[in-house]
């Protein structure tokens, strides 16, 4: 495009569009800047000093947060990691295997499975949460780690993405060659298809990890034992109790800041491996 652009108008910096974009960035960064400065304040300073001025209580806030209910906050963090990390990992494997089967095998019932899967993509996971709770209760699994972990594993959209990615990145001929060499179907999948699908699977993993990490309703419904809460429901609990005890507000704010650091870091770090074009391209037609 730039090769075909001899006139200088095109390369000149466009001031107004740049400013508009920077305003957009400012809008999204304001709450982040706010939480960084608010977490440095003591609960007295929180209500009295200007929001964006730093306070003097950052270290004390961290200590208070860490010692709150014998380190309950860090337990919530660990729980979030278990739900999101474990759930996303298993979910990605299940999606990869199912997506590969749909992409690279011709078999009876393939079309039917695809249609049912698509209906699953469109169905809001969240309206399922209440019936899922009744099911978990009947299985005696409500208020266990499994009640949050198991429903998070099945992800029709992940299967769909994995299928598209397998179609694009695993050549039919390679599979054929391996089969002729006598490799078992499982070996073909594990040693050939899976590595080829890896970049796409990173995206599936990330989407699922963030989805589970950010989920509120499912753990909120399934769990009654606070020690099994992930960060989202834990911080909601702090905020809910804060109405009576404003000291908890400072804890909730500091806790909120710490809870977004790993996710933001992961997002920034893995940015180059993301294949979001897959996401839009897949449904663009």
């Amino acid at each position: 495009m730039s090769v075909l652009a001899p006139d200088r108008r095109r390369t000149r910096t466009r001031i107004v569009p740049t400013i508009v974009l920077l305003l957009g960035a400012l809008y999204t960064l304001i709450p982040i800047i706010w939480v960084i400065s608010a977490s440095t304040k003591t609960s007295g300073e929180l209500f009295t000093t200007f929001s964006f001025l730093p306070g003097t209580g950052f270290i004390d806030n961290i200590i208070d947060l860490s010692t709150f209910n014998n380190g309950q906050y860090w337990l919530w963090g660990l729980n979030s990691l278990i739900y999101a990390g474990g759930g996303a990992l298993i979910s990605t494997l299940v999606s990869a295997s199912a997506g590969y089967a749909l992409a690279r095998f011709q078999f009876r019932g393939r079309a039917l499975i695809f249609t049912i899967l698509l209906a699953g993509v469109l169905l809001p996971q969240i309206t399922l949460a209440i019936p899922q709770y009744f099911l978990m209760t009947n299985l005696g699994l409500a208020n266990t780690y499994w009640s949050v972990l198991l429903p998070s594993i099945i992800n029709p959209f992940g299967i769909y993405l994995a299928c598209i990615y397998a179609q694009g990145s695993v050549p039919e001929e390679t599979i054929e060659a391996a089969r002729i060499d006598g490799a078992s179907e499982f070996r073909v999948f594990r040693s050939l298809a899976l590595p080829m699908m890896l970049p796409g699977l990173v995206t599936v993993f990330m989407l699922q990890f963030i989805g589970i990490w950010n989920n509120f309703l499912l753990p909120f419904i399934m769990l009654s034992d606070e020690s099994m809460f992930p960060l989202t429901t834990g911080l909601y609990l702090l905020l809910n109790r804060g109405t009576g005890t404003p000291v908890l507000y400072t804890l909730a704010i500091t806790g909120a800041l710490i809870s977004i650091i790993p996710l933001v870091a992961m997002m920034l770090f893995l940015q180059r491996y993301w294949r979001l074009d897959l996401l839009s391209g897949s449904l663009k037609g």
């Binding site: 495009m1 706010w34 089967a101 950010n214 449904l283």
Partner: protein
């Protein structure tokens, strides 16, 4: 690239007999018997989980929505579960509280959805414009809220709305203006919508931006050589080509709106303007766990799921038709 329109139909067109013949022919060609079990083995974990956590809960919800508790035999009668037909549906759909919660949701959606998509489109077009600086920084910053859970986002904005900790009111006071109540019963819709917009604009921007990048540049080279200004290229060429991606983001936004739950629940802890049955899902949750109207909640869940499915199918139909038209 494969697509929604390519995947399933391609498979649907193949009729069973030709498929069988193909398999036979392929078997002969390869001189080995293709395992027909393998694809099912690969699919098994997904199918088991799908049935357990999607099909069975839906089936159970549908069952629950058609039964109710009846008391027979006078004052000391037994409570038994009986089939009541559409009674739960009728009573729920005519429940003023449920209707009101939908009204509130609609008001919230009318503010949040167009603004989210409008801003996402604006930012995507600006990112695609030659000569714009700081695009990498702006793109990352605007996408950043995607990594912030809705509950945390609400916590952050909630404190910025709270009169005692609001930087906005501090700024207003500094220039001699009175406080603005972000949490009053009127402004609560705008305040909630703002959180939704903040959280979703970046994700939608990225979808639209990647769709824009996949449009070959030659398509607007001619217009550029003719000296058409960028805004005309955007309006007459880029936006029409973005239509399928825009429909997709609209679909995501509508589904997201229907599912609004964590954000209003969290903001409720800071504001008395939000009741326990503010949005439909909050009312459903309350009925299922608070007032023990499980059948009613199940009926409402089924209605919500069907509604979402209907919207999705409708939008995807439009999407497919458009794609076909473009192809022709």
């Amino acid at each position: 690239m494969s697509s929604l329109t390519q995947g399933p139909p391609e498979a649907l067109v193949t009729n069973p007999t030709s498929e069988r013949q193909d398999t036979v022919r392929e078997r002969k060609r390869r001189g080995s018997i293709r395992p027909t079990l393998a694809p099912w083995a690969f699919l098994a974990p997904a199918i088991v989980l799908f049935v357990l956590f999607l099909v069975i809960p839906i089936g159970y919800a549908i069952y629950l929505s058609f039964v109710g508790l009846r008391v027979d035999g006078g004052a000391f009668g037994k409570r038994t579960q009986v089939f009541v037909g559409f009674e739960n549906y009728v009573s729920y759909l005519t429940n003023p509280e449920f209707i009101a919660s939908f009204g509130r949701l609609a008001l919230f959606g009318f503010i949040a959805v167009p603004l989210t998509l409008g801003l996402a489109l604006l930012f995507a077009l600006l990112l695609d414009l030659p000569g714009v600086k700081a695009t990498r920084f702006a793109r990352t910053a605007i996408f950043l809220p995607y990594a912030v859970p809705g509950v945390i986002a609400t916590l952050l904005w909630g404190f910025m709305y709270l009169p005692t900790t609001s930087p906005f009111n501090y700024a207003l006071n500094a220039i001699g203006l009175p406080d603005f109540d972000f949490l009053s019963s009127n402004s609560i819709y705008g305040s909630l919508a703002n959180i939704a917009i903040w959280a979703a604009v970046g994700f939608n921007m990225i979808i639209l931006y990647t769709a824009l990048r996949s449009i070959p540049a030659e398509i607007y080279e001619a217009a550029k050589l003719d000296g058409a200004p960028e805004w005309r290229i955007a309006w007459h060429i880029k936006i029409p080509l973005l239509a399928p991606a825009l429909l997709l983001t609209l679909l995501f936004s509508l589904i997201g709106t229907l599912q609004a739950y964590g954000e209003p629940m969290t903001l409720r802890t800071l504001s008395s303007s939000i009741s326990y049955s503010f949005f439909p899902l909050m009312k459903i949750y309350r009925d299922a766990f608070g007032t023990d109207d499980v059948s009613g909640a199940a009926a409402a869940s089924v209605v919500m799921a069907l509604g979402t499915l209907l919207i999705s199918i409708l939008l995807l139909r439009v999407l497919q038709r458009r794609t076909f038209d473009n192809a022709r």
